[in-house]
Each structure stands twice: as structure tokens, then as C-alpha cells.
Amino acid sequence: MKNSPLFKALSKKFSAPLLVVPIRGSFWERDIKGPRYRKKTERNYLDDMKYGIKELKNEVQLWKEEMSEKFQYDPKVYMPDDSEIVWTFDTKEKLNQWVCTSDSDNKDGFSHCDLTLSKNKKGLFSGFLDCRVPKDGQIKESGYCNIRCLRARKSFKRDSFFDWQMFTHLILRIRGDGRSYMLNLTTTGYFDVMWHDIYNYILFTRGGPYWQVAKIPFSKFFLSSKGRIQDKQDPIPLDKITNIGITCAGKTPGPFQLEIDYIGVHFDGNHTEEFAYEMYNVPSFIVGV
């Protein structure tokens, strides 16, 4: 494992762990955020009810659209060389579908970042990456900024998935600053051991003034859980994707910016690779592997 080219490439930029936590005795987790980041909020029931009534109108509208699409019974079948643009960054409403976090929001560091509309009407993920470690006693390394889209959802706040089973590639039209960014495809599972399953890929950007269309096959994404790359790798389940995110992290402090035109998916009929990493299965009587 330690001699594999994947591990060597990743250990140069992202070396785990970022923080020290007490040893856990079990895999069971009470909630998805974890004890360090769990926030206690006091709820006012009257405000909640008023908010709920306001949301009801939007949700009923969404539900009507869902039902009309469902009863049309005409699922879209994509042909080779078809693409679908899933996110564009033209307007501020579209930017509201993305959540921008940095380590200073979680009291883990001093970086700051923002997702704004650039003067070309494209999304601009920019900020300052600060690798100074706060004197917490728990944190070992610091410096990360992240944008993540809101979870795919159905009407009445029900969780849903992005179904990209018919596609083979992820395409992004971006203009970076030469840094390498990490693409994260979160596939939150139902059970708590699968809550933090994220498929990653390191996107290298060119710093130039020209736009770059990155066409990344889904077979190249590798599985990690809570930031740690898993030994037992799996091809990404394309019908269970919940979020997509872009992370800027590393050991080089300084400003960063990534301009994004669109993020979409593409079906390449000639792409036959199932998974780029080890696919052989060792029989269960062979231990230690």
C-alpha cells in the first residue's frame, strides 16, 4: 500500500491526520457531524411553525412537478457523446445552492473563502489558504477551504440522489490558478459506517488565462472515508451520489481562486474502464489483505 503510486502522490500534498481525536471503541456514530462539530441550537416552536407554513407552498409546487414528471413515464436515455450540464454559475440563486466552508468556520484554522459571481458571470471560488495551526492542543495540521452543493432532494425535504448511472465522465469547465484541487463526490449511505464515504479525485489546474475543460472518468475516483483513503476500493455507485464538492487544501499558504463555468456529466460510448485501481478480489481465507 505505501509503495503504490497513488499513496505516494497523495501523501505529498494531503497527509493525514489533520487533527487528533480520542480513540473510538466502536464504529457507531450518533450523528453525522460528530462530537467536535455538533452545535446545540435552542428551537422556538412558534418560529418553526411559521417557517414550515412558508415552506409548504414551495414544497407542494415541487411535489406537483415531481408527480407530473413521474407520470409522464418517459425516462431520458442518453446516447454516446451526450452531455448534461448539471450546474451552471450564472446567477446568485444558483450560487445559493452551494455551501462554502473553510477551517475558520469550524475553529480549525484561519483560512477564509467565498463563492461569488465573477465579472464574466461565472462562479468564482476564491479565498486565502492559511496553514497556521490554532493552539488547540488537538489540531495537528490546518488549512482547507471547500465548496459543496446542497444535497439532491425531492419535495417535502426528502433526501434524494443524483442518478448518473448512464454517464461515464464528469466534465468541468474551469480556470484555475495552478493549484491542485480535490473533487469530492459524496455517496452518503444509509448506515452510519457509510455516512462519510466520499469518492475523490485530484484535479490539476493550469494557471493560464485559457479555460480548461476537464473530462474525468468516474472510474478514476477513489474511495475515502473521513479523509482516509480506504484499503478496500470500490467503483463509485453512480446512482447514490448525494453531493459534489471542490476542496482547496495543502501546504502552500496563500490566495487561491478557481473560476467555474459549468459542471456536468458526459457519456462516452468508448470508455470501457470499470475501475482504475485494484479490482482483483483475494479469497477470504487469505488474511492480511
Binding site: Y78, D197, D239, N281
Partner: protein, 338 residues
């Protein structure tokens, strides 16, 4: 990991369990056969290499055990009323409960929601076992004990409607075949109103057709509609079309024969509404079967010159598909000659 020793070990309880249920003379042995079948099937489907397969096998295990335990409870309850068999003294709820729990095990509506999600997570071979062999044991219990229960009519109707309507909005092949298995369940249950052996004939022919379909999809690793439509192998496309049309019950193919028999005898029993619901649901099923194959035969005809992939010869697929193609004609000829 599914090695040959594991397959050899666990296929024995899988087969024997169903045999025990089908040849049992007591409730307990029938239940025991169901459990043995489950114990044999679970190791075959829960591979640790694939996250999705282990999740599907967990869901399958939970559903089947809940159904088995409720089935055990319901027949124990019946024996508290009458020790030997059902008599006029037993309340109507007990056959109700038994049939409902067995329909959970079968994946018949209204308890069919688990079948598409579980089928999606399994490999093609396990999908085939799930849709053909796993249906035998619960259907045999229903046919032996309650063949002419009115609840069967309700379950058959619901299965026909939900199997046809549910499959319309799907693009994943395994989910489509799962919904088609739900609607074929409707035909099998309605055949029990006619005779005790007709469902066996139906499931035998259904198993032949579905194994020839899966034999076409599995070696080429086809999991989605657009993979079938972009397939350039013309022989394979025609075999897939023949088998899918046979599954839909179109006349020159074998799949029409069991449906024809069931329709004929149900009409003789004056069950016109039932037959019309079954036929309409079959028509809807046929729509989404042809949607899989028509684009490969009629619309897309591109051959890449620079991409040379070696496709394996169709030696396994051909014999079974020939049964689908010529089975009806040969069986009719033999019946007329005899």
C-alpha cells in the same frame, strides 16, 4: 468473495430447501425448507468486495426473516385452533396472514418495494436465482394450501398493476426485470385459481426465458438501457429482442403459451375483469421491453472502425434463445400430432 467452493457448499441448501418445502407434508417442514433456502442464498449474495451488494443482501435478509418469522407465527396460530388441518372452525384471518407473509417473500404487491432495490444490488447470476428459483417454495405452499383464496385475486391484480406501472420509469436493466418479475407473479398467482400444476408450467417457461435474457446481458456486463442500445453486435441485439418479446408474451414466441393457457381457462371461469387487467399490464410490460431493444435494432447503426473489441461467440446464448423462438410452434405441433 464468491469462489467455487463457496458456490458448491451453499447451492446445496439453496436447492434442497426448496425441495423440502415442495415435498413437505407439515407446516414445520415447509417453514424449515424456506429457512434453509435463505441460509443457502445469503452467502452467495453477500460478497464483501462490493458495498452495494452487501447492502442489498442485508435488506434481503431482513425482509425474508421478518416474513419467515411471521409465517411461523401464523401457522402456529392456526394450529392452536385446529391441530391437524384447516377446518371450518379456523377464522379467515389465518389464511390471510399466511398468504400475505408468503407474498412478502415472493415480492408480490403490495409488498414488492424491496425487489427492485435488492435486484439492482446483486450480480446477474444472483438476480437470476432471485427471480426464478426463490419464487418456487412460497408459490408451492400457496398452491398446496390456499389455491382458491379470494385474497390471491387482489394480490395478483395489484402485482399486475404495480409491476407494469413501476417498470415504465426505469432505465436500469435489473430494475426492469425485477418489475417484470412482479407482473409475472400476477400471472402465476392467477393460474392457481385454475389448477395446482399450471403455475409450475408458467414458472418453468419463465425461468427459461429469463435465463436466456440474463445470459445475453451478463457476459457483456450490460446494466443499463443505453449500453444495450449502443451495442454493435447485431446477432446479440436480435437475440435480446427475441427473448424480450417472448417475455412480454407476444404470440410467435414461447412466452405466449403459458399466458394463453391461463387466459383460456380464466375466461372459461368467467373472470373477465381479471383477464383484462392481466392483458393490459402485459401490454405495458411489452412497451418497456421493446424500449430496451428497439433503439439498437432500428435507430443506432454506427460501427467504429478504430475500436476493435473482441466479442465472445454466442454459443451459450443461441440454444436457449432458439427455445424461445421455436418453442411455441414445436409444442403446438406436438400437441396436434399426439
Amino acid at each position: 468473495m464468491l469462489t467455487l467452493p463457496i458456490i458448491n457448499l451453499f447451492s446445496l441448501p439453496l436447492i434442497l430447501g426448496t425441495m423440502i418445502t415442495m415435498s413437505s407434508s407439515s407446516w414445520l417442514m415447509a417453514w424449515m425448507g424456506l429457512e434453509m433456502n435463505l441460509m443457502g442464498f445469503i452467502p452467495l449474495i453477500s460478497t464483501h468486495s462490493n458495498k452495494r451488494a452487501s447492502e442489498a443482501s442485508l435488506k434481503y435478509f431482513l425482509i425474508q426473516t421478518i416474513a419467515s418469522s411471521t409465517f411461523l407465527f401464523s401457522f402456529l396460530l392456526s394450529s392452536s385452533f385446529s391441530i391437524i388441518q384447516f377446518t371450518m372452525m379456523t377464522p379467515w384471518m389465518i389464511p390471510f396472514m399466511v398468504i400475505l407473509t408468503l407474498s412478502v417473500k415472493l415480492g408480490a404487491a403490495p409488498f414488492h418495494m424491496w425487489l427492485p432495490t435488492v435486484a439492482e444490488g446483486l450480480s446477474w447470476t444472483n438476480c437470476l436465482i432471485l427471480m426464478s428459483w426463490q419464487k418456487m417454495a412460497p408459490l408451492s405452499i400457496i398452491s398446496m394450501i390456499f389455491p382458491k383464496n379470494p385474497l390471491i385475486i387482489i394480490i395478483a391484480t395489484l402485482s399486475a398493476i404495480s409491476g407494469s406501472m413501476g417498470g415504465l420509469n426505469q432505465t436500469s436493466l435489473r430494475k426492469i426485470l425485477a418489475f417484470s418479475s412482479i407482473s409475472h407473479m400476477a400471472w402465476m398467482l392467477s393460474s392457481m385459481l385454475i389448477s395446482k400444476m399450471l403455475w409450475l408450467f408458467y414458472i418453468f417457461i419463465y425461468s427459461i426465458i429469463i435465463s436466456s435474457i440474463i445470459l445475453c446481458f451478463a457476459p457483456f456486463n450490460m446494466l443499463h438501457i443505453n449500453q444495450v442500445s449502443t451495442n454493435q453486435n447485431k446477432k446479440l441485439n436480435s437475440l435480446i429482442t427475441i427473448n424480450l418479446l417472448s417475455l412480454g408474451g407476444l404470440p410467435p414466441f414461447l412466452g405466449f403459451l403459458p399466458k394463453w393457457l391461463i387466459m383460456f381457462y380464466l375466461l372459461q371461469m368467467n373472470m373477465f375483469l381479471m383477464v383484462s387487467i392481466l392483458i393490459i399490464s402485459t401490454l405495458i410490460n411489452l412497451y418497456y421491453y421493446t424500449r430496451i431493444s428497439y433503439s439498437s435494432l432500428l435507430l443506432i447503426n454506427s460501427n467504429n472502425k478504430w475500436m476493435k473489441t473482441k466479442t465472445p461467440p454466442l454459443t451459450k446464448q443461441l440454444p436457449l434463445s432458439m427455445i424461445s423462438l421455436f418453442g411455441l410452434i414445436t409444442s403446438m405441433l406436438t400437441f396436434t400430432l399426439l
